[in-house]
């Protein structure tokens, strides 16, 4: 294979380890990153979404509204609009309502950007980049009481040790285990809604209802 063909002609079944230089937006490639995939020292998530200059729309989940980040002042709403990088800082509890039904706490930064659709098209590019966890770095799935924000449940995923391939299994396990617990807040008594995973494929009617709720 010539040097030029390493760049311009990518066999999508090649090991990702061999591919550092491809165009990740290539239609033959982007689908491989619809979840998350590691590429060198980073993890990429690439989604085609309906994006114009002002809004982002997920065809499976509806409008991509404000991201919620939890800080000392309570829930901070992040206006997720196209043409803007947003960096969720490492350690910040965050969630996207109706997209994933838990608070995500990552040991590493997450960088988001949405690029409007090219002229004549409706679907733009939504890009998530984060560094690949190593060693003891990882992330948590957490739940705070929706009434008083008390931390009521948390599952840790040792991403650096277990690797990205285990992430979705861990996410589903955390959601399932959390939903089997008593979700009543020990502080204020509020009964909190069911959790749900990022991917809608495994939604039951109960999970669909939870996704609509929060």
């Amino acid at each position: 294979m010539s040097s030029m063909s390493k760049i311009t002609t990518i066999e999508i079944d090649d090991s990702l380890d061999k591919l550092g230089d491809w165009d990740f937006f290539d239609e033959k490639v982007i689908g491989k990153f619809s979840g998350f995939k590691a590429a060198s020292g980073n993890v990429l998530g690439l989604r085609r979404r309906i994006i114009d200059r002002e809004s982002i729309y997920d065809e499976k989940k509806g409008p991509y509204g404000d991201m919620h980040e939890l800080g000392p002042g309570g829930i901070h709403l992040v206006n997720m609009v196209p043409m803007k990088f947003h960096v969720t800082r490492a350690g910040t509890s965050h969630r996207v309502p109706h997209s994933f039904g838990y608070w995500h706490i990552n040991d590493l930064d997450e960088v988001y950007v949405a690029i409007p659709a090219p002229e004549g098209e409706t679907r733009g590019h939504f890009v998530v980049v984060m560094q690949k966890p190593v060693g003891k770095e990882g992330e948590s799935f957490a739940w705070y009481c929706e009434n008083c924000l008390l931390l009521i449940d948390e599952y840790r995923f040792d991403h650096g040790r277990l690797g990205l391939s285990e992430f979705w299994r861990a996410e589903m396990e955390a959601v399932t285990r959390h939903n089997a617990t008593d979700r009543r807040c020990p502080e204020c008594g509020h009964v909190n809604p069911l959790a749900y995973p990022w991917n809608t494929v495994k939604d039951t009617p109960a999970l669909t209802a939870a996704r609509r709720h929060w």
Partner: protein, 190 residues
Amino acid sequence: MSAGLKEPVLGYDVPLEGPNGWHEANRYLLWTGHFALDAPPVALQERIDGRTETLPLRKRSLSLVPAGTPHRLTHLAGFWRTSDADFLVLRAELPEAVYVSLYVSSGPLHHTDRLFWICPACGTELAPWVYDVGRYGALAFWERLREPVRAFNADPVARTCPGCGAVHPTAYAWDAEEDTPEERLARAAW
């Protein structure tokens, strides 16, 4: 910034349509820039197997330069760089401008950036400048690189290839606003 009082507690927002420039965002260093549609194209070049390869310009592209791969951007970086951190290039052509966004994936494993030139005749590396990112930070590399660029331009010996004797063309730094007339011509040329 005084005593970190303006440091965001949570996240960072960086509009792509703002002035061209670097933005520190915890472990990531982001550069946002936009150019006129008819401006000289900012294309990613890499050295692969001893050859310079230019990635094709597309209306949309996201490219990742793995740590350790020599790279530069035409008309934006008048030098070559290697780093032990990944580098990502996002290019989006929209009706009003071409947007180029860069990610330097920094952090505790990012120790060194190197700047150098490559003899256009024979590929010999010229005048390497090693920067201690661990000590001075990732942003400072981009702020200080004008110094070795100007030193290279001022030193005929450094610009002359010891292997074949070819003289390297004038180099230029990152921020075009501070270019000398000679550097401005060089930026337009390569």
